[in-house]
Symmetry: C2
């Protein structure tokens, strides 16, 4: 197995945290996205979509979305369950993950990729170039603020995102919430439950993001 990672990007960070939480040792190659290494030919030959994370499975299949990589790893390495043991647990953990990706993470990415100087013409990941849309950056920021409240309600009576223990949903939520640093949108002080959960999860984080 081989994991193509990047220390400055949030999506591969989920996989890195997942691997660390499961105490796995996987061969890891770091790409420098600031030098556009993901666009180089040797990497296009592995993943023509030019995105990280990229993961090569035992049988040589290529996975390039963090959820599919984590589901694969959970199937191969059952110890330290992070994606649920029962149908009910699996359902609510995946539901949280889907929700964070489509309503929080995508909003942060919309904001960052459509406003950052470094991402001019790179508003969408992958081989094609797309121009930035400034209104989309604003809309993304508004959606982030709104989703902070969703998380606050969700965490107000819980220690973890889904069930009574740390799961992949906490990884997804933590990586997204922490990534709001990139758009300078901190958790509002009045959201005490979200702030407390964030500081608790920070303590176990072994997969830092270099911004």
């Amino acid at each position: 197995m081989k994991f193509y990672d990047c220390l400055t990007a949030p999506s591969p960070r989920r996989v890195r945290m997942f691997i660390n939480e499961k105490k796995l040792k996987i061969e890891t190659i770091n790409l420098d996205l600031r030098k556009s290494e993901q666009m180089e030919k040797w990497f296009s030959d592995i993943n023509p979509r030019n995105t990280v994370p990229t993961f090569v499975t035992r049988e040589g299949n290529i996975l390039f979305h963090s959820l599919s990589i984590c589901i694969y790893l959970e199937e191969v390495f059952e110890e330290i369950n992070l994606l649920g043991k029962t149908a009910e647990e699996k359902g609510i953990i995946i539901n949280s993950i889907n929700d964070i990706e489509s309503n929080l993470f995508s909003a942060i990415a919309d904001c960052l990729r459509n406003s950052s100087k470094a991402m001019e013409n790179r508003a969408i990941t992958g081989p094609d170039n797309f121009e930035q849309i400034p209104e989309l950056a604003e809309r993304g920021r508004a959606r982030v603020k709104s989703y902070f409240n969703v998380l606050e309600n969700h965490l107000s009576e819980k220690s973890f995102m889904c069930i009574d223990r740390f799961t992949a949903a906490d990884i997804w939520a933590f990586v997204a919430v922490d990534f709001t640093r990139a758009i300078k949108e901190p958790i509002p002080n009045e959201l005490g439950a979200l702030k407390f959960w964030y500081s608790e999860i920070s303590k176990r984080d072994s997969a830092e993001l270099n911004l």
Copy 2:
């Protein structure tokens, strides 16, 4: 179990097709989104996010993303496997699903929700209102055209999206490709493999979308 469906929306259609392919009988309630039934109080009380699909599990948990619902159903009803039997199969099927959602389906939704008259002020699903961004509609259309080529390459040597049989990845891809009718962006004639796969999958479709 209870499934809140809608015959005019693509996301619940995936669940409907999944249920039909697995030959399950699940109590189903249809919502009329054109009458904004998803915003009514009785439904907010079930799913405060006001989205379909919404699914109530055996233990009363609420799932509101099509992938989490299908993963739950596959765990409860093992017969007629649609999400993979081995780690390798699961990995590549989920990877396809993630990819179609983030690179094709979201592009179609961007295009439709940011251009349709009926969706003025409703550019994002859920309880908050967001104004349309016309440039995002254009960008969505460009991404759809680009992804048609990804699918064509992918299907040029295969009968199905992932492995040698029909899986949930075919459901996700079919529902997305068929949904391009809503933005009047047909499959280009020269993409023979994609057109052939689409017509083959159409034959087994028992979960029509009323546009």
